[in-house]
């Protein structure tokens, strides 16, 4: 390798002044990036991986400062360089792309003009040829019809397209180093793959170095030469990506690796290895009768027309264009004791479907048979008092949002018992609460805390305890781990599996993550544009997908090479 690295960080320490005093976000971090190398920084939330990259760019928040160490970029001491010099460096020598691409673009400036701003600033263009160069950049990041898109505003473009524009901004001045901070988080798997492939192709072609910051080990493994694992502000392991996955040295790396869902493993494999034998899983009784039977379920929304103000004043419906079909006549069953995964990318109708089954949303047409009773025809409003209500429960996507900030954990868990559990004494309710807390592994002393005093994993447990409080037959899990770090996700997934067996429930698991679905579910339903494209046993669908779209989805998900 080249003797002098492009970027050399040694003993970097970054501190933030907060209400509770000084917090060290990054502590004694050392690593180098060689010319043309792609380095991945991997870690869970709060590991300091983003802060490290902001320190390289010197764009830390007002409260943050580089307290110690040095950053050398091609011979320049970044820490002591003056601000005007740093501004010349940013965008020209080092550039950055961010997560949430739509927010990263000025919402009221044409994307072409934003490209020109950067080109003109770094004298890569003069006003007379700026437009031409901007369109050329759009071409390079494979945006079709670039002359038209030059005039587009960010809100008129898709998330993937916005990320390409942000990427074009970063490439505009042919910098030597690109920092990509969670560039694909929040994008669908297929979009993610397209964006990442483009990034790799264009940076390689230009001989650029890249730092890829991500929480996703699979992504790091698929695209990086070298991987740096961070935990709580410190680097715990640095190794070539070829070896780090085969032979992780640090216990944290091993834990992270294990917790990452991947093909060919069981749920149990996600957790750290222990000596004790996993509890023998009881044989699931499937009596062949469907618990839930959905037939020709349709949900349509009226389209918002123009001139709605006047129309709404007089209560008139806007001129009826063809309504938007969120769910277009789908049918499936969930057997007793079975876990069914409902998979698809954003906007495929999976959440709408789950809301209708939960009877929080009224279907336009079709039937929902639950335990032999057609509950689809009952109005969502009146279903609150229906005897079937306790039998279908739900675990929500965002554990924070799903807990009333003014209720303690105990109050949240006991809410269903108080409402629908029949008249029980306060002591009985409390006892049941504690029993549920034990079931979900929530320490009893946390029961009297408020949501903001609990961690993400603990909040998820409270949400699960609430859902199973009345011994439901069916629990709908709406991306229950999407907001959690992988190590917490591993624990929660195992808990869900264990509870299912112990309480003989059925799950309808809504997710975008095929690997997670594979781990937890017996059967998988793949949805796209409101329709089911494929369904079958999880093993079959994920190892031998029949539909083209399923194959595409599977190919898009990066997996660590274990």
């Amino acid at each position: 390798m080249v003797a002098i690295p492009l970027l050399d960080i040694s003993d970097l320490t970054v501190e933030f002044g907060t209400r509770r005093g000084i917090v060290r976000a990054v502590e004694k971090v050392d690593f180098t990036v060689a010319k043309g190398e792609t380095v991945g920084i991997v870690g869970e939330s709060g590991s300091g991986k983003s802060v490290t990259s902001y320190a390289v760019m010197r764009i830390l928040d007002r409260a943050g400062r580089i307290a110690d160490g040095s950053i050398t970029f091609s011979g320049i001491d970044i820490r002591s360089a003056d601000e005007a010099y740093m501004r010349d460096l940013r965008g020209r020598e080092i550039s950055m792309i961010f997560q949430n691409p739509r927010a990263a673009l000025n919402p009221i400036r044409k994307v072409g003009r934003q490209l020109e701003d950067v080109l003109l600033r770094h004298v890569q263009a003069v006003p007379s040829n700026a437009k031409e160069k901007a369109i050329d950049l759009l071409n390079q990041v494979r945006i079709s019809r670039p002359e038209e898109r030059y005039h587009a505003y960010p809100f008129e473009l898709s998330g993937g397209m916005c990320q390409r524009i942000v990427f074009a901004l970063a490439l505009a001045c042919r910098p030597q180093l690109l920092i990509a901070d969670e560039p694909t988080t929040g994008l669908d798997a297929t979009t993610q793959k397209a964006v990442m492939d483009l990034v790799v192709e264009l940076t390689r072609a230009r001989g650029m170095s890249t730092i890829l910051i991500t929480h996703d080990l699979g992504l790091a493994a698929a695209y990086c030469d070298k991987v740096i694992v961070m935990e709580r502000g410190k680097v715990v392991e640095t190794a070539p990506s070829g070896s780090i996955f085969k032979d992780p040295q640090h216990p944290y790396t091993r834990k992270l690796m294990r917790a990452t869902p991947r093909p060919g493993i069981t749920l149990r494999d996600l957790l750290p290895a222990t000596d004790e034998e996993p509890p023998a899983s009881s044989v699931v009784v499937m009596d062949g009768k469907p618990l839930l039977s959905v037939r020709d379920l349709v949900k349509e929304y009226p389209r918002q027309g123009a001139g709605a103000t006047l129309a709404s004043l007089f209560g008139k419906k806007a001129a009826d264009a063809a309504p938007f079909r969120a769910v277009g006549g789908i049918s499936f069953d969930v057997m007793r004791g079975e876990s069914v995964g409902l998979v698809g990318e954003s906007g495929c109708g999976k959440s709408t479907t789950s809301m209708m089954i939960m009877r929080l949303l009224d279907p336009t047409s079709g039937s929902i048979q639950f335990n032999g009773v057609d509950i689809g025809g009952l109005a969502a409003k009146s279903f609150a008092a229906h005897p079937m209500r306790p039998k279908i429960q739900m675990v929500f996507q965002d554990p924070t949002d799903s807990l009333n900030p003014r209720y303690t954990a105990a109050r949240a868990i006991s809410d269903p018992i108080l409402r629908m559990g029949g008249g029980q004494s306060a002591a009985q309710v409390r006892a049941r609460c504690e029993e549920l807390a034990r079931l979900v592994g929530l320490p009893g002393d946390l029961l009297d805390r408020f949501p903001h005093q609990l961690s993400g994993g603990q909040k998820a447990r409270v949400g699960i305890a609430r859902a199973i409080a009345l011994d439901p037959d069916l629990v709908v899990l709406d991306e229950p781990t999407a907001a959690l770090d992988v190590s917490v996700q591993a624990i929660v997934l195992n808990l869900l599996q264990e509870l299912k067996e112990r309480l003989s429930m059925s799950y309808l698991f809504v997710s975008h993550d095929l690997h997670v679905v594979h781990l937890l579910c017996d059967r998988v339903i793949v949805m796209r544009n409101g329709a089911i494209v494929e369904q079958g046993s999880a093993d079959r669908v994920l190892s031998h997908p029949e539909h083209e779209y399923t194959r595409e989805l599977l190919a898009a998900v990066p997996t660590p090479p274990v």
Binding site: R20, G46, Q99, M394, A412, P416, D448
Partner: protein, 301 residues
């Protein structure tokens, strides 16, 4: 990883306080410690409250007794704030006026808090027709310059203090209704409200136990902030001769009486009631800002 570069310093630690009251209290203490102005404004508020409650029994002179021999006297030890053109003691009049001004402000704000709050919450939670009607009423009121509308209402309804209260409540209605609507609307689809639906809560119960308690603090802040505006509004109306009539002591009308003497240099007649009025409004605004910091630390500016 969040977009912010601030590390997650608020992560729950093991030694969390358990009681909510205690935690709120310590947070309040932090705010006051950080911002003594809030503490000061609270003290000032108590002072105004005391004046309103027992002021009339404390003042050295009869606020209505005129003494032409002692007219237009500068501030002195005998007359702290001087005397007006009829020889009335301005200090006594300013103190006594506190009760009337506070009563107008508090009753109009309480009225609009209940009406606007309820209408807004219903609009935000139920949507549809309720929302449309409440929104339309609010929009119509907002289509007027508010003080001008208040003038029109008082002129039409009749020139009384009660009508000042009603007019002030009406012009504040959209503010409360919109705030309550927005807050109720974002919570309508919140996960915890959905969860409450799943556990068999009726709509009314959800409104009462899930939505209201979460909106109340924000509404209280709004109340404190509009108190100042209500006082200004009432004083403005009486300044142009609406509502309160002379010789009743009221800050706005006292400034109006003093305004004629400003050009001839008798500054104290208008200055003291004006300063007191300003102080009262200032106090409520600071208090509102402080309360907002306590209730909603995220919105601190």
């Amino acid at each position: 990883m969040s977009a912010s570069t601030i590390p997650d310093a608020a992560a729950p630690a093991g030694s969390q306080r358990l009681a909510p009251i205690k935690s709120l209290f310590s947070h309040a203490r932090y705010i006051v410690g950080d911002n003594p102005v809030t503490g000061l404004s609270f003290g000032l508020f108590m002072l105004f409250l005391v004046c309103a409650l027992i002021g009339p029994y404390l003042v050295p002179h009869d606020p209505l007794a005129s003494d032409t021999m002692a007219a237009l006297q500068r501030p002195s030890l005998r007359h702290l704030f001087g005397t007006d053109q009829l020889g009335r003691d301005i200090f006594s009049r300013v103190i006594v006026a506190t009760r009337l001004d506070m009563t107008i402000a508090i009753s109009s704000v309480a009225l609009v808090f209940v009406l606007g709050g309820l209408a807004g919450i219903a609009a935000g939670f139920y949507g549809g027709w309720t929302d449309r009607i409440v929104g339309r009423i609010g929009d119509t009121i907002m289509a007027f310059p508010l003080f001008v509308l208040a003038m029109g209402i008082v002129a039409a309804l009749g020139n009384t203090v009660t009508n000042i209260v009603i007019a002030t409540a009406i012009i504040n209605f959209p503010l409360y209704a919109r705030l309550a609507r927005a807050e109720a609307n974002v919570r309508r689809e919140a996960g915890f409200v959905q969860a409450a639906r799943l556990t068999g809560n009726s709509d009314a119960r959800i409104l009462l136990t899930q939505i209201m308690p979460n909106i109340l603090p924000i509404m209280m802040v709004q109340m404190s902030l509009t108190m100042g505006y209500a006082i200004l509004n009432a004083a403005g109306l009486s300044f142009i001769g609406l509502g309160v009539r002379p010789p009743t002591p009221e800050w706005g009308i006292m400034v109006a009486e003093g305004s004629a003497f400003i050009v001839s240099g008798e500054w104290w007649i208008a200055l003291f009631p004006g300063l007191t009025l300003m102080l009262a409004v200032f106090c409520f605004n600071l208090l509102g800002d402080g309360l907002r910091d306590i209730v909603d630390p995220l919105r601190r500016t």
